[in-house]
Symmetry: D2
Subunit: 458 residues, 4 copies
């Protein structure tokens, strides 16, 4: 999970536009952020740890000159939280300078890594993105389109890329289209972004998705598209983008995410109705499905839980007796809405299962006389190896427990998940990766043994 952006636009402060674009992509990653620009001569970069608003100020934004820019926001995964891993990743190559922003995860990293080391290309980090950058720099091909195509034949897994050279921006998406990427037009140029929600705030307009295997070049001549690798028969767009990741106002495969989520709730209403007085959503991502579920059954929708946004980035540990109730620090019940009512609590998914139980008990304590839990996707039973930070098999509650066991574990009066069919109908699309539900991975997996942390830089 990361957010990518690229822009080629004349008479525009492209670094500033990239800043606001990254603000709109902040939900895709909050560990680090960076912007690289080119004025056709020099390449300028600033990156740092933390939120975009923490990394950038007028003083470090101002020097980022030029008509070309790429930017990235990075997701925090354990152990790799270091400025070395902040992107864009910038190197000097035989073909000139190259800056790369990457979203996704390769599944043959180890093999590629070994090959690079054997060729004498040394690496400074353990990140996929560094591997991709060096693969690209030494790829065969007479131009960057050629090299990106060559890269596509070797890299297996999920990757969306934005690439900056001295004079052009390139965008590319893996041949299965696992991670999102789209194209837009701005008053004086063109933009590339992980999600279309970027467009409005920077006065650009969504044009279309970058196609699986496609390579797009933005330069002084406008937009130029090449098909790199042949797209796979079946695309495998990550279905979790619909369920949880993407912003509700983004378009994915030309559908607005919010609408899909409401529709997931409606399907759930058809599949798993219940008599109740109030439908609430777990804020924020459970709310659209809750509204859909409520409308589907004509039960009043209302707010039942308030979420404290300020608790999110706190590292202070609660006292022992408060530790049991960490959920309580984040969510508060709206007693007046809940008291004496039969409540349906809708959430987007259950992964580890640490939140649902305490929330059910919180609602009961606040006066709910029944609490029915409805989840707008099927049980998550398999880890993701394509870029989503999901836990191991052992940590997935639906891997360890049956639905009745989970129902009892979370103390719910009833629990229902949306069926795989229901989900597919609501999402539609040309083919999605739903490996986390089914275990059918769209790519072959490498036996991972690079997990071992080999060095630490602070």
């Amino acid at each position: 999970m990361c957010g990518l952006f690229g822009m080629y636009a004349k008479k525009t402060d492209v670094a500033r536009a990239t800043f606001f674009a990254l603000c709109a992509l902040q939900h895709r990653g909050q560990e680090s952020a960076g912007i690289t620009t080119s004025d056709g001569q020099l390449i300028y970069t600033h990156k740092g740890m933390g939120l975009i608003s923490q990394v950038f100020d007028e003083d470090n934004l101002r020097p980022l000159k030029g008509d070309l820019a790429i930017g990235q926001t990075r997701y925090s995964t354990t152990g790799s939280s270091h400025i070395l891993n902040a992107q864009p990743y910038l190197i000097d190559t035989q073909h000139g300078h190259l800056a790369v922003g990457h979203n996704g995860n390769l599944t043959n990293t180890l093999a590629l890594r070994s090959k690079l080391l054997e060729q004498g290309v040394d690496l400074v980090s353990s990140s996929d993105s560094e591997v991709i950058t060096h693969m690209l720099a030494i790829a065969n091909g007479s131009d960057w389109e050629g090299r990106l195509t060559d890269l596509m034949t070797k890299a297996i897994g999920a990757y969306s890329l934005v690439v900056l050279t001295q004079n052009a921006i390139f965008a590319a998406r893996d041949p299965m289209g696992l991670r999102p990427l789209c194209l837009g037009v701005s008053p004086t140029g063109h933009v590339i972004a992980s999600e279309s929600c970027v467009m409005g705030p920077i006065m650009a307009k969504y044009v279309r998705e970058v196609r699986p295997g496609e390579i797009i070049r933005l330069d002084k001549d406008g937009v130029h598209s090449t098909q790199g690798a042949k797209p796979k028969q079946l695309t495998a767009f990550c279905i979790f983008e619909y369920i949880y990741f993407a912003r509700p106002d983004s378009l994915l495969e030309d559908k607005m995410v919010h609408q899909v989520r409401q529709c997931l709730g409606e399907k759930l209403a058809q599949e798993a109705p219940v008599e109740a007085d109030l439908v609430i959503g777990v804020p924020k991502s459970g709310i659209p499905a809750a509204i859909g579920y409520a409308q589907g059954l004509s039960i009043p929708y209302g707010q039942g839980l308030i979420r404290n946004h300020y608790i999110g980035r706190t590292f202070i540990q609660p006292e022992e007796r408060l530790r049991r109730s960490k959920v309580r620090l984040k969510y508060s019940p709206l007693v007046s809405n809940l008291i004496g009512k039969r409540v349906v609590m809708v959430d987007d998914s259950v992964v580890r299962g640490n939140t649902a139980g305490p929330l059910v008990r919180l609602l009961r304590k606040a006066g709910a006389i029944e609490v029915h839990v409805r989840i707008s996707c099927p049980p998550v039973q398999h880890p993701c190896f394509m870029g989503v930070d999901m836990p191991t098999y052992q940590e997935l509650i639906a891997h360890r427990m049956s639905v009745p066991e989970i129902t009892s574990h979370i103390d719910a009066d009833s629990l229902a998940y949306l069926s795989h069919e229901g989900m597919s109908q609501a999402v539609g699309g040309k083919g999605s990766c739903s490996a986390c539900f089914t275990g059918k991975y769209p790519v072959q997996l490498e036996k991972r043994n690079y997990q071992k942390k080999e060095f630490e830089v602070t």
Copy 2:
């Protein structure tokens, strides 16, 4: 607008509890935060600029020992954003050390200030809170209850206070009860807080409000209440706490704020109905009234605007052509929900009027065929001098324009405000200050001439 907290509890890490309490009060002020504790011998303080999670870490929280603590979060008002103004304010007095947290605004500051300077009490800042602290330190009275009572006879305006001495916590509220303050009980002691939403996260229970003019002492003997100044005939609780400030899960005058807001929406539905296809709220504070309005008219409620929380704390200025559309950086429309619909947009209030117009145009551009604006309070026509950071007369749109003029200014198909009667019925209560609507201030105002900034510390 500030958040106050106080706690006396044995065998509890009171500083840590105060930290989490302040997290729950963060919406009341984000400029600075501080915690002061006492172990009966020494007083310990840490304070700093920014969010509570930025000010505190394990290293500076750990040394805050003892059974007594007070904490404060401070609201940002122009020109006074400095660590010198961070609270609790700590001084040494003839009666021992004193730490004070203050929420509110005096209306006779200048007179009190002159009197203090004449008496030889010099001041280091231009803040009311420093004036109150020194007034308290030199007040007549044989104990702190006596001195707080004396203070109440001299200070005019709005003030809720938490005070820490070596061995006790005191809480006090002005005789008109302008700003909120409540009492709770924790497993091993008692707590004081600006809002009851604090209680749940720290495993405390709400007991009751501190009464206008009441002084509460928390010490090793438990809770002790004294009536300080005689409460005024009419209390004047700030009605804007219901409309906008307070957290929806807080109880004010024993009513849950969320319920009041939903009820404001229902009243508005009765007073100003409209034929429409969708009711949306301006996130986040307009949502409860929107739900109430939708239910009152049996129009579907839905989400129409997404708010980007990450844009809030950014100081980067957008480029010239984006500057016109600052609202666009913060809000995005959910096109799929809006297209072809007659939409009612409910918001809690209109103050300067800079947001409503751009939002209406945003909804139209996203496909809404009609946009009706409904405001769940009357027009704000008068500034507040009792602690709410409101603009001058000239900046208040409802002071400059009539409702039809505003309707046209914000480009709405129709605009309606809730009537004063409707608001009063929804809020109920024993008497509120609604001076910002009526201009009838509950206290005499001082001709303010201390506005002139006299010094600057960076």
Copy 3:
């Protein structure tokens, strides 16, 4: 120990000049630094912890506008290292704004403090300087000269002051002249400084010392002098300024400090000659006396110890086995100069006695066949209560041990201190405080019981 500076000069960037003046006074205090200016209307202040070069940058220096400035560098004394204690100390008084920089230590602080608290003047810190500032603000007198005079009748002990009001700079020195302060003239105005070494770097010229009890006002009309308190019969200028504190290029009582130090070494040569091959000084403060000693006995002077300046501000603790030899981290012997030689090691003073022993052993290990230690002042046997950070009686080696005992303790072949008479002759002057050698304090001491730390702010 602190460094003070004040300036009134037209068409000059007085804040910038103050910055460079404080750089020249940095040896007098490295804990915190601050500058306050006035443009006749507003007062501007910036202060912070650390070296002047760490506290100030172009961004925070630029806003300090006006023709008047004072600045201070503060010495680090245990437990009070906090921004609250950084000076200039700025308050609002009945007579207008007041900024104060203070160097020295009162000996009746507790009495003054009690009196202030009784009068209702509360205090925010435990510092003398705050007491002085409030005393001044409430002093009797129709103008600041009057109030400074009144202050002089009440404050007992050591104090040099620079004071800034909206339109003038005041300088004052206690009636015994314990701490230094001098007047200079700059191309467009006048300056006040703790030491004359300030003058050169800022293109000013030394004029004369501020006299004991004198009050100097700098304003648009130039320099105006008033005698405040009658000066004491005997001045009591701190003799340790000559021996250790002041910069060698400063003039004290019109004598250059370096010359006095060389002369101390010459006297020592007369009083305690020894046959030797090389005279070395302990860098840096022992070097002038070493040169004087060498010349007095016609023994070659040379360098024998190199001091690593970078180790000074390190808080990393050496490993256990290195801890015994902390001195070794700071000093290295020049073996080629020392080998086979009879060496005289000259130092300015011995206080705790932790350095001399290890240095003697270091010289022996480097090949010196004899090591004779010569100290250019008498044994320090009494603590200072007038502003010098000296240890308690128990920590002073010369209080616990006789000279022969110390000789053996530090492993020297011989040890000699300069006599009191020798020191007095070298220093000359109108009367000095040498209480640290004699125990004869020039003022009555208060039984200190405010040592107890009563609060802690971080």
Copy 4:
């Protein structure tokens, strides 16, 4: 100019020892510092910008575990002041992890760089050190000794290296021995350092220099030496290390630097005597030669200039009229020593010639009746391309002016440089690089065109 350190020692906190070793090498570079350790399993690194004492604290030092460590302090050269360039430089290679610290400058960087890029080894910075690290990683050879030997056949120019692998420390020096490097023994292992001044503070003992072209391995079996490249017939040790760079207490080619400097002064006395009353040195590096000069002519040595160490790291610009006298901010004259005297001012070298003139005028203004300048090396007429940050031909005053012209330019009564022969006799040694005086470079130079800054990272 950089400082290098390496250590293999059991039962020792090697990171902490490295910290203190770097403190002793701080004079060789103040831009950045870093330490890398290995515990045989993992590699740990921390590095940062600034002084060692600013980069390290207990929290970041503690995690650096193991028996092996290398450390580096880096010199500030314009335009490359960035954390990316901080060393040790750490990469993953086909032979395992590799950390490299480098002191020196290659003269065929561009050729090597092109070759690397052609081979597909991309680069992230413009530094020599990165080139060396990658060259090493892909060098031919079955072990690191083999690869270091291969590197020596390809790299031309100056380089001393410390290299850390999982289990060993390697040290290597270019075949001409341009930059210093020495070996020492510690209580539980061995150390490598740029200068022997490191040894004392960490309780190690100097053993010998690393020989030109030698490779030393430190591991669990102790010290192992290999001859890598055949040493050049003539070594070319940088003579400027004697004159200016090295610490006076270091041994270079088994001579103590201080002694060499004193001897340079004595030679200068023989070659260029003058009748005078006082010899002073420009602090700090001119002092040993001044002492030697004074003894050679039996003229009294004394202090004449005081240097303010605190001004060094300030970025504040003085006001226009002070800017002419920047030297004045740093140096103050000791008037009492100078007045009425004929003074000889000895300095180690004259490079740009910006300091000597203002100092001469400062001495005259302070009362010196004659000022004779003596320089303890010949005129610097050629830039250095082997690691010393020297200006271009145009900036070198001795390139532009003859000695009489310089004498007049700096306003001296007389000026004399030490002759090349005198310098050689004082230094002795097996052959030195004195290209900055003669223009005879020991290696072939590459036409530098990589000067162009190609990217900027902040």
